[in-house]
């Protein structure tokens, strides 16, 4: 009796300590989740903080006297003359007129506020409208990248302002006058890559990604589904089937860069396919995403109850008819969900594409499956490696675009899983 009571006593005395331990353990769990979620929040905040200015461009709006004499141009329809004419001078003169304190002596400093590509814009506009020659027009041009950086990040220590004090004062004045303005960066969505950050855009990379994803999708979805059907419905229990399954499971865990080595050795060196093209990228990503698609498609097929198969077989359907007419349609939502997730993975993949040469600096928007291209994540990689902060800003903006694509794909997959998948 006394012995038992003392035991109960011991337990009671230890309870406080044990409960404290319990609370501590629980706190560890909460702390762990907090750390993980904090990392997520910091990551997003960092990217958005660095990149939202990438969606803004800085422009100069001024009255340009398109003076033929100054430009050595008397006929704006003459190709030869257009090539030789001076399109910088009218811009410089226009800007000098906008800056009260600037004189002809400051022309070099003024010229450095205008984007080097502005003269090309003027030429193109004049080519479209030859009658503009010898008139005065209000036009908008891109400002120089240094002006862009100054307008967006004047107080920020991380950015080095390359404008002189005089130029800074001018830009401040021009901003007040409404000549220098920041607005939504449509250039970013309409251009390919460029050496000039304010001219650089993601259109080329987005089109490259779309072409690559198209190849990946049309190859990996049918092949993945067919392989899943075979393994779930037709494969006999033998060594070969086991071997296939082991291979698929292992391929799912092989580092993606190994697929890049495979692409380089087989598609480019053995088959002699060109480098940096969406077709090869798509083939490599197909091999990489196939295991994911096969595994999720098999799960979808498995979840179709046997009663469906038995009912179909009972009324005389052949095995293939059972599968194609009954199992496949019922498993389709699950297969599509898995494939969307696989495609999202492929869209974010970078490493294997570096090895097959999709890292080249490509200005033109690719116009076919056999045209040199880059993809969005590789574009991020290229810009992130640049020492210029204006490119880093664009890299963050490109990441935001990439993440928007990925999050919407994943949201679509989750929505489909919730809405279309049947519970049996």
């Amino acid at each position: 009796m006394t012995d038992q009571r003392s035991q109960a006593e011991i337990v009671r005395q230890s309870l406080k300590r044990r409960y404290r331990k319990e609370r501590r353990f629980r706190a560890y769990g909460i702390a762990a989740i907090a750390v993980a979620l904090a990392a997520l929040v910091i990551l997003f905040a960092d990217i958005i903080g660095k990149g939202y200015t990438g969606f803004m461009k800085t422009t100069l709006t001024m009255e340009v006297q398109i003076d033929g004499e100054m430009m050595y141009l008397d006929d704006a329809t003459d190709e030869r003359q257009l090539k030789m004419a001076d399109f910088v001078e009218p811009l410089v003169q226009a800007l000098i007129r906008e800056i009260p304190s600037a004189t002809e002596a400051d022309r070099d400093a003024v010229r450095d506020l205008i984007n080097p590509y502005a003269s090309v814009t003027l030429r193109d506009r004049l080519k479209e409208n030859p009658e503009w020659l010898n008139t005065t027009r209000t036009m908008t041009f891109l400002a120089h990248t240094d002006v862009d950086v100054y307008a967006k990040h004047a107080g920020d220590e991380a950015y080095s302002i390359k404008l002189s004090e005089q130029q800074q004062a001018w830009v401040d004045q021009l901003q007040e006058d409404g000549v220098v303005e920041t607005s939504f960066n449509d250039v970013f969505f309409q251009n390919g890559d460029s050496r000039d950050p304010s001219k650089a855009g993601i259109l080329g990379a987005v089109v490259g990604s779309l072409l690559t994803m198209f190849v990946t999708l049309i190859l990996s979805f049918p092949i993945g589904v067919a392989a899943a059907i075979y393994l779930e419905e037709f494969a006999p229990q033998n060594k070969l089937t086991d071997f296939i399954e082991v291979n698929i499971n292992n391929l799912a865990a092989v580092p993606s860069i190994i697929f890049g080595l495979l692409g380089l050795a087989v598609f480019i060196n053995l088959f002699g396919m060109p480098r940096s093209v969406p077709v090869v990228g798509g083939l490599v990503l197909t091999l990489m995403t196939l295991p994911t698609i096969i595994i999720s498609s098999r799960a979808a097929i498995k979840s179709v109850p046997p009663s469906i198969r038995e009912a179909a077989e009972g009324i005389g359907a052949s095995k293939m008819q059972v599968v194609l007419h009954h199992v496949l349609p019922l498993a389709m939502p699950g297969m599509l969900t898995g494939s969307i997730i696989g495609m999202a993975q492929a869209l974010g993949e970078t490493a294997p594409l570096l090895l097959i040469g999709m890292v080249a600096f490509i200005v033109d928007v690719p116009d076919g499956f056999f045209d040199s291209a880059t993809v969005l994540p590789v574009q991020v990689f290229l810009w992130a490696g640049s020492p210029e902060l204006a490119f880093i800003e664009r890299a963050s903006a490109a990441i935001m675009v990439l993440l928007t694509f990925l999050i919407s794909m994943n949201a679509l997959a989750i929505w489909m899983r919730k809405r279309l998948e049947r519970r049996w």
Binding site: I33, L37, N250, M273, L347, L355
Partner: protein, 462 residues
């Protein structure tokens, strides 16, 4: 015709064959008294004709498209004057790119020797001929085979069975692609690795402690011999992976435990997808974050504490990689913890143990093998991770265990050696494949062990 257009044309031809086969089977059935006298439905006769038409043509197309580039290259090289035929593969690829640049107009013909201009002309002609031949061959195969298939439609043949068995073989081929991929990986890395070991000895590669893959640019250069010891790369990879696991394992495991044992359904349904979001973020984004935010932060922090830290520290790359792996560890451990039978939990709680005691003394030991398997899978992922280390870890192959110093990894070296211009025969490029082989073997080994552990453990409670 372009291969893509030819592909479309073949598909159109297959559809036509389907229509013709369908019509013919119906026409043959008419005199017999309707389609019920056919062995199969007209659909299957059509499908059979379409498969007859499409499959051989597509095989021919795929083979031709795959090998034409190489064959044309060999023909062009072979037709050069004998004194210009390159001795090794490196100069061959250089010559070929010159020829194809001339052919595409990127290099004006005036800049190169006359035989190269001729070769470029020949290249253009051969490409045109190859395209013509391919189109002719594919179309004639499609038409001929389709016609044969159409001709052989008889009411007595069981078209359904034939179509189904062809489909089954197609499905099998798709599944067997996994084997082909593995074989492709093995052969592509093994072949180049053997050639690498012809140049560099095993001992140097596996036990050498210095890595600087600079081979001589000119034959008379002596200084830049190049060293190919993989130990610094290996330790660098291990250091970064270890840091990643130090972050990922406690955080991932504890959040999995909290989510599976403590959290209510609502918290779980919010937190779990958020954690999984970490897994969905592309690695290039993590690399960006590590290189431009975390690494400067760490080196500034260290500097303010008076410690010297590299701006490309192993800690930054490893820490961010750890964040990336958290959801991997947590979802695998979550599965394993949930697989532990409820009876163990109930038994322990009934004896008066608190929840944490149940977790620590009963469930965790029971789930340990599965958790270990999950961790091994996570390690294999950390070793093979590329973009974070390419962007945030350095290129300097230091042999160090200091997480504040720069180290380099196997994957970083593969990417650096293989991006940009490369000659295919140098020890430098071959070294990348040798490293790839090591990486493949290491991850394969980890995966096989991990999958075995996980599977064995699952069987215990099934």
């Amino acid at each position: 015709m372009q291969p893509a257009n030819l592909l479309l044309l073949t598909l159109v031809l297959a559809v036509v064959a389907y229509g013709l086969g369908y019509a013919r089977s119906r026409a043959l059935a008419m005199p017999l008294g309707g389609i019920r006298h056919l062995k199969s439905l007209p659909f299957y006769y059509g499908a059979r004709a379409a498969l007859w038409c499409g499959i051989p043509a597509l095989i021919v197309l795929a083979l031709w498209a795959a090998f034409q580039g190489k064959v044309i290259q060999m023909l062009v090289i072979g037709s050069l004057p004998p004194e210009m035929i390159p001795a090794d593969e490196g100069s061959a690829s250089l010559l070929l790119s010159k020829i194809s640049n001339v052919a595409s107009g990127a290099l004006p013909p005036g800049f190169v020797e006359a035989p190269i201009v001729e070769a470029a002309e020949r290249l253009k002609a051969l490409r045109g001929q190859s395209r013509m031949l391919m189109s002719a061959l594919v179309i004639s195969v499609a038409v001929l085979a389709g016609f044969l298939g159409w001709l052989r439609i008889r009411p007595r043949i069981n078209a359904r069975e034939q179509v189904e068995s062809i489909l089954k073989w197609l499905f099998f081929a798709c599944a067997a692609l996994a084997i082909l991929t593995t074989l492709g990986i093995i052969f592509s890395v093994a072949f180049e690795t053997f050639r690498f070991f012809e140049k560099i000895s095993f001992v140097e590669f596996f036990f050498g402690t210095s890595w600087s893959p600079q081979t001589a640019l000119r034959a008379d250069q002596v200084a830049a011999e190049g060293a190919f010891g993989m130990i610094p790369l290996f330790t660098g990879t291990l250091l970064i992976s270890a840091i990643a696991m130090l972050v990922a394992v406690p955080v991932g495991l504890l959040s999995a435990i909290y989510l599976s044992e403590y959290a209510n359904k609502r918290v779980r349904s919010i937190v779990k997808p958020l954690l999984e979001m970490l897994a969905g973020i592309p690695t290039v984004v993590y690399g960006f974050f590590a290189a431009l935010t975390v690494a400067p932060f760490i080196s500034n922090l260290a500097a303010s504490l008076g410690i010297e830290a590299s701006s490309q520290s192993a800690l930054a790359a490893g820490g961010v990689m750890g964040i990336m792996i958290i959801p991997f560890v947590s979802s695998l451990s979550d599965d394993v913890i949930n697989a532990v039978p409820q009876s163990l939990r109930d038994g322990s709680l009934a004896l008066g143990a608190t929840q944490s005691e149940t977790m620590k003394k009963v469930i965790f030991p029971a789930a340990l093998p599965g958790i270990m398997g999950g961790i091994l899978l996570a390690v294999s992922r950390a070793i093979g991770e590329t973009m974070i280390v390419v962007m945030a870890a350095g290129l300097a192959a230091n042999l160090t265990a200091n997480p504040l110093e720069t180290v380099t990894t196997v994957t970083v070296q593969i990417v650096t050696l293989l991006t940009g211009d490369q000659e295919f025969d140098s020890a430098k490029t071959l070294a990348a494949f040798a490293l790839g082989a090591m990486l493949f073997l290491a991850t394969l080994l980890l995966n096989v062990i991990a999958l075995k552990i996980v599977r064995k453990y699952r069987e215990q409670y099934d």
